[in-house]
């Protein structure tokens, strides 16, 4: 199963990993949008994290988010509001950022345990709720509590403010994932219908 071999990545896996890292960055630069008459201001960045999980799958989604965080750490302003630099990993949201990596992995695992499987809406929704909210907060809240010195329970209470927006994003991510599966079926085949084969050097080596 491909999900158990992280280091066997095709060229289109590599480029999708890079493009999704850029996508989450671009969704942050798009700025916060408001839903339901400004009642829930949200940035689209965590929506991108969920989509990385549902579309790229567990390993590639997690690698993609790691790529993004590395670029942020080395000083590119790729987080919403143009934030970047190593400092963000010493601030209160550090845990949520690390949660993106684990969250994308869990989402990929729950949404499509097999590579190439078509996404089923309910699975995807559950995956986004569990991975995109559950896992992200599970890592984010304790780290926030550690950084700010506010006790764990109270920090968790404070973070509840963002949960409604995140639930909306999980629903959006589900709708979008299903729509993308229709608009670009190759998204879930792992590669385009037309194949990109390469020289079977490994084959000749092992059979020689």
């Amino acid at each position: 199963m491909s999900e158990s071999r992280p280091f066997s990545l095709s060229l289109s896996d590599l480029t999708r990993i890079a493009v999704f890292a850029a996508l989450v960055a671009a969704l942050g630069l798009a700025g916060a949008i408001s839903l339901f008459g400004n009642a829930v201001p949200i940035t689209l960045q965590t929506l991108g994290v969920m989509l990385a999980g549902t579309i790229l799958g567990a390993w590639r989604g997690a690698i993609s988010m790691t790529v993004l965080l590395v670029l942020v750490a080395v000083g590119l302003p790729l987080l919403s509001g143009g934030r970047g630099g190593f400092g963000v990993f010493l601030g209160p949201s550090a845990g949520y950022l690390l949660g993106w990596v684990a969250g994308a992995a869990v989402i990929g695992l729950l949404a499509a345990p097999r590579r190439g499987a078509r996404p089923r809406p309910w699975r995807v929704l559950v995956a986004c709720l569990v991975g995109g909210i559950g896992v992200v907060y599970l890592i984010g809240v304790p780290v926030q509590s550690l950084v700010t010195g506010v006790p764990l329970g109270e920090t968790a209470l404070l973070s509840l403010v963002f949960v409604p927006g995140d639930i909306v994003k999980a629903v959006l991510a589900t709708l979008i994932t299903v729509a993308v599966a229709k608009a670009y079926p190759a998204a879930f085949g792992g590669r385009r219908a037309a194949t990109t084969p390469s020289e079977p050097t490994t084959a000749s080596k092992t059979t020689a």
Partner: protein, 225 residues
Amino acid sequence: MAGPLSLYVPGTSPLHRLPASVKLLGLLIGGLVITVPRPEPLLLGVAAAVLVALYLVAGLGLTELARQVWAVRWIIVVVLVGQLLFLPWHVAALTSIRMLLAILLAALVTLTTRASDILEAIERGLGPLRRLGVRTERIALVLGMAIRAVPIVIDLASEARDSQRARGVGGGPTAMVVPLLVGALRHADDVADALAARGMDDDEEPVMLEGSERLRGASRRPPRR
């Protein structure tokens, strides 16, 4: 890697000239010294003085320092409000200051080091992993491609938003994000073709069309299900 996509401030100060790896190590140690012990006024005061001196040595000056503080003002405010609900005020103040100092120290590295230098230092630091079979040059490749992809995806996003507007359809974020994603995936697959055309090996088992069973049979890896 200058331009809008970077936080680096060009300069020739001793801090600018220090190798990236040394600065990263310094950041690690400095960060630990500031954040691990309980926040004491004396420790934080010394740390703040050192930090101000470093900003001056780097030629960034107090205006840049002030700009950095200003940039994180909302984070500090939000954190402080949360703390004041649950903690005594002096503890709240000290933890907030501690966090601010750590962020400013990290910003100092970011401001004085080119992103490409840090990436190079990372690639070199990962070198030993090569012996474990990790293809570190691929890590550098993906990081480079991601940087390259940011402006492209931003263009795709504004294209998607404009065409949504031009057609006068509402539909909220879905109507914008779906075409954006399709465009991004198509772009990724085109880049994969370009990589192959430029001689980059695909280390994945090739999926063959009919008539190529021999290749598949000889493959080292089990066929994909």
